[in-house]
């Protein structure tokens, strides 16, 4: 079942999502999931680089808007201003030697140390921690790390909004699809699913949702008011 660790991801974000990321219109939380996938996926890095070229080409052919006449002189006078000290690097170097290292930018977002995370149990075998994202308005968008025990099945559910999932370690299956490290899945309200973590170890995922999930199983739906996802 398990693919060798050096194997590249096989499930990728859609071209439209990569386009949004290259154009700069994704939320910070979605950008976190996409950029972390890019760290694990040379193929999608290549696509994003191409889409950035499209941005450059569109910028070259946009109908120009006149700048104030003194704009260039004002700016030339500022060129010798001292350069402000760069913001302190928040990049972390911790944890990169681990067996399944968390890549940037996620590593810095969680403070660099997977071991120091204070997990909260959601249900038996499933722990989560909310990843702090965004200084500005994030609305209902939430980024979370999920740790799912071997063989644990997530109760059948759907989403009012969308859910991005990026596998960081271990794997899970959803119907006939297998997800491993680096694989990216996107689901919207039309998908009603019940993913199962692989038997051979814990599964670590980053999820980004823009609305709470809804349990849809016959009995589980009674629990909707109580779940903490």
């Amino acid at each position: 079942m398990m693919r060798p660790t050096h194997q590249l991801p096989v499930h990728h974000p859609s071209l439209e999502l990569l386009l949004d990321y290259a154009a700069g219109s994704t939320s910070e939380a979605a950008g976190l999931a996409l950029a972390t996938h890019l760290a694990l996926c040379p193929e999608c890095r290549e696509v994003v680089a191409q889409f950035e070229s499209v941005g450059g080409a569109l910028l070259e052919e946009i109908q120009p808007a006149a700048m104030p006449p003194d704009a260039l002189d004002d700016l030339l006078a500022r060129l010798d201003e001292p350069v402000p000290a760069p913001a302190p690097a928040c990049r972390s170097t911790a944890d990169v030697d681990a067996l399944c290292p968390l890549p940037e930018p996620l590593r810095s977002y969680i403070g660099g140390d997977l071991q120091a995370i204070r997990w909260k149990q959601v249900m038996r075998g499933v722990d989560q921690v909310v990843v702090a994202v965004g200084r500005g308005r994030t609305g209902k968008v939430r980024a979370r790390l999920l740790r799912i025990g071997p063989g644990i099945r997530i109760p059948r559910h759907t989403h009012d909004g969308t859910e991005m999932t990026l596998v960081l370690a271990g794997g899970f299956s959803d119907g006939d699809r297998q997800y491993q490290r680096g694989d990216f899945s996107f689901s919207d309200g039309e998908i009603d699913h019940s993913p199962v973590a692989d038997d051979d170890g814990e599964c670590l995922c980053l999820t980004v949702t823009d609305a709470p999930l809804r349990l849809t199983g016959p009995l589980m739906r009674l629990l909707n008011p109580f779940i903490r996802f």
Binding site: L15, L19, S27, A39, V47, S53, V54, G56, A65, A71
Partner: protein, 225 residues
Amino acid sequence: MAMEHAGTLRSPAWQPLAGLISGLVPAGVFTFYRNMPDVPSPAVMDGRPLDDLLVAIARDRDRTAFGLLFGRMAPRLKAYLLRSGVGAAQADELVQEVMLMVWRRAGTFDPARAVASTWIFTIARNKRIDAIRHDRRPEFDPEDPALVPAQAPAADRSIETAEDSARLRDAIGKLPVEQAELLRLAYFEDQPHTMIAQQRGLPLGTVKSRLRLAMERLRRDLAGS
């Protein structure tokens, strides 16, 4: 592309090379510039490829090159920022900040990786995210030891040449109108494709398929050469 080469050859910096081929064009064209080497005509200098200007800024801290780059790019950056919904005064300010970053970071521009307009686009895009949405833009770190490298680095296709860039502009010009329109919305309006669909009252599936067709076509045009 042919235009840009012509511009390069006609600019004073290239006079020795221009001299070699001056037999091919009317002599007056070159003697005119030789007579006034210190006052290059902006129209002629304007033909210098953006990449050359940026390299001159990085290498020589060349203010003339910076002025020319500003003349070419600042009005376009302003148009880009206006399209994303900022007022004219804020757009002017943001353009100044973007161009100041261009001056300061010119040394990190690598003409082997991307053309100047692409590099400037990424700076403007990040400035827009920072200024308008007050968000950070999460990015992978190319030096990250945890980054999974390309398996065939020799075949790394993220290298963008001036030819790619010209072909790309050409390909954008040939897109069906409804695809080109959506493409510009996606890049200029600071809205993910899902919001574009909502705001324009278009079915999400239509937006997705038009964008996908446009992007697949552009990628094919970039790859096939």
